[in-house]
Symmetry: D2
Subunit: 216 residues, 4 copies
């Protein structure tokens, strides 16, 4: 299932507009902060699908029966561009365990590139709900590789895949390459095009560079 949060109007649309805007995105503090706020919105929307159990809580004035999260999802992210959105998810799911995965684009002489996993620091994900986030979902190959790396560490109950800006092709690639019953896709917005170098058009540019500075 693919949930496109920008299909209804909300402040999320304003945030995506600001992330895209070549002038506004020069302020990297705001760029990161907006991704963190979007992480909060994704967390809230995904939290509606989690399992709650009513428990007794003792207040200073009585006893309340309140639904509480049975289990926090594991929050996985792809380095480095996924970090701000991961920070936002972790702010909302503050008791979650986490996983960090690096996917590296190796550019070849013929103009193509391949993606490989270099680093994976993964908590126990067996039988857990996992949220795997990145800022962009371009070709989709980093996300698929990261997912495949994740499941070498256990079998999640379900995985929510989160990206702020996705390409239509990237969404298709995920749907074709990952088992559909095991995943739910959450994107801010879907753009139609990609460049030959797999940058989303109009997109927002290179999210990692905008958040953390150009790589050497």
């Amino acid at each position: 299932m693919v949930n496109i949060l920008s299909s209804g109007n909300s402040i999320l649309n304003q945030y995506i507009a600001e992330l895209r805007d070549a002038e506004i995105q020069k302020d990297s503090l705001r760029f990161r902060h907006t991704l963190e706020r979007l992480g909060g919105i994704f967390a809230y929307e995904i939290s509606k699908s989690l399992i709650y159990e009513t428990r007794e809580v003792i207040t200073p004035l009585g006893i309340a029966n309140v639904p509480m999260l049975v289990e926090y999802p594991v929050l996985a992210t792809i380095l480095r561009a996924g970090l701000p959105i991961h920070n936002g998810l972790l702010n909302f799911f503050d008791k979650s365990d986490n996983a960090f995965i690096s996917a590296f684009r190796r550019h070849h002489k013929d103009g193509t590139f391949s993606i490989s996993i270099e680093y994976a620091s993964v908590t126990d994900i067996d039988d857990k709900v996992v949220i795997l986030c990145d800022t962009m979902l371009a070709s989709g190959s980093s996300m698929v590789l990261a997912y495949k790396e994740l499941i070498t560490h256990g079998k999640p109950k379900h995985t929510h895949i989160v990206a702020t800006v996705a390409s239509a092709e990237g969404v298709d690639y995920i749907r074709k390459n990952l088992p559909q019953q095991d995943i739910t896709i959450w994107v801010g917005v879907v753009d139609e095009e990609m460049t030959a170098q797999s940058y989303i058009v109009p997109g927002l540019g290179d999210a990692g560079d905008l958040a953390y500075g150009k790589k050497h």
Copy 2:
């Protein structure tokens, strides 16, 4: 209209459970931070009812047509207990102008109390959407007084009234004392009872004291 956000399950329920819990609420940093996160959730939900206009945004790689907020709501709060939830709303609606109103409970010798407005620092609200927030909605009289103070400064287009924990009586009081077509009520949860001193039961205790320390 009354929107009770806890009627569907989401991380908001976990937050309300933590705010209520007499042990967890001893950590005032977490107490304030949870109210700020709730402010973000209220902001997001209310933002779905605001007006957006599609504008052209120039990205580093193209032009995107994106819906942007036509006008930010004015954020009004009641001192001091409303401040953390106001901070959360302002984090999401970062371009909003603001209003601060103090409502004071004057306790009389016979055990009753009256509420009066002492301080009002109000931005222009004429023809604006206003969000008026407090942490608790107990008897409802502070909220009604604050609303009445607000409208001496202009006539809002519409006012969203936000409270984390409300009493059933307080919600009724608002509905009876404010023009229904002009307001929408958003609450986290509704509790059935109140003490003679107008504390909500089971509630969470005195939100102002928990966030900022006991008053002298």
Copy 3:
């Protein structure tokens, strides 16, 4: 004693430059956030003068003897302009109790103005260290009035007065009107001039308006 933090170079100077800059200050999110960071710096500097006691702490791997704060200072602020700097102080002194005081400028027909206290929500300050903060210290009369209001609630052990941008005249006014042995003044920077309306020159404009929007 007057401590002027900008007299040595640090990132505080960069922050004050950004607060002053008529272009940068249009971003009220950054304006508030910079004041919050300055609040952290003031908290850290003032914390060096507080009293610590070595206690045993049990770590997962042993026992550590560590100095801990004997008592958190009370954080008092003047509404509304003081709120962002208060938020920054409270972020660093997260267990502190708080006081909120409103001082209102009443403009008279002859161009003069008087300041009066309308609202004071004050925690117990008797025998406590108090930090009383505002963003600007212009004529100094709000600060002196707020201090005098505070001490109707108890006798602090010592009071630290904090302002981001002060006028030389305001600093003098404080020194003449408050008992010098009971207070320490901490300012970001001192400007030499004031307008007839008591705005600091070059200053940064109206801090309350910049953080929260023009008053009606």
Copy 4:
């Protein structure tokens, strides 16, 4: 040069006490937040050694001559435990470019371990001031390896090495293995002992696990 910030009393000592405390550190939100606040303190202290240039800034009421940072330092961190302290540094140095390096402990059958670099996403550091941070400085080998990886990307003007809790042995190791004129060490506190597995005693346990959950 080695700067031990806990040698004078400040709120930093309270923070280190809370990070160490086996009870308090169960709250991973607070654990991460405290590391972020410490990152702010390190940023502020290091910022005193950076270079400022007086520039004219136009305020709403005049012109101010203010010292501004000539160049932001590059912020480098070691994954994953360094991330919260890096977030705190980046909050204070919001315009900085960044570098992320992963150092992995490979445990051998004989109980020893070796550390290798897997991932390095590094911005241009040539002729820049660099701040390289990690939460713990235990044996010192991750930090030395990370530094050596960094300088394959350019020659920094100077490097500040930051760690919240260090072992005496780790500090020595850095001083012996890195060119002393090129680096300055900043630590929160120095502990005397280490376990055979290179955990600092009394230390605080495994900072990565405490912030992000146990690794699988």
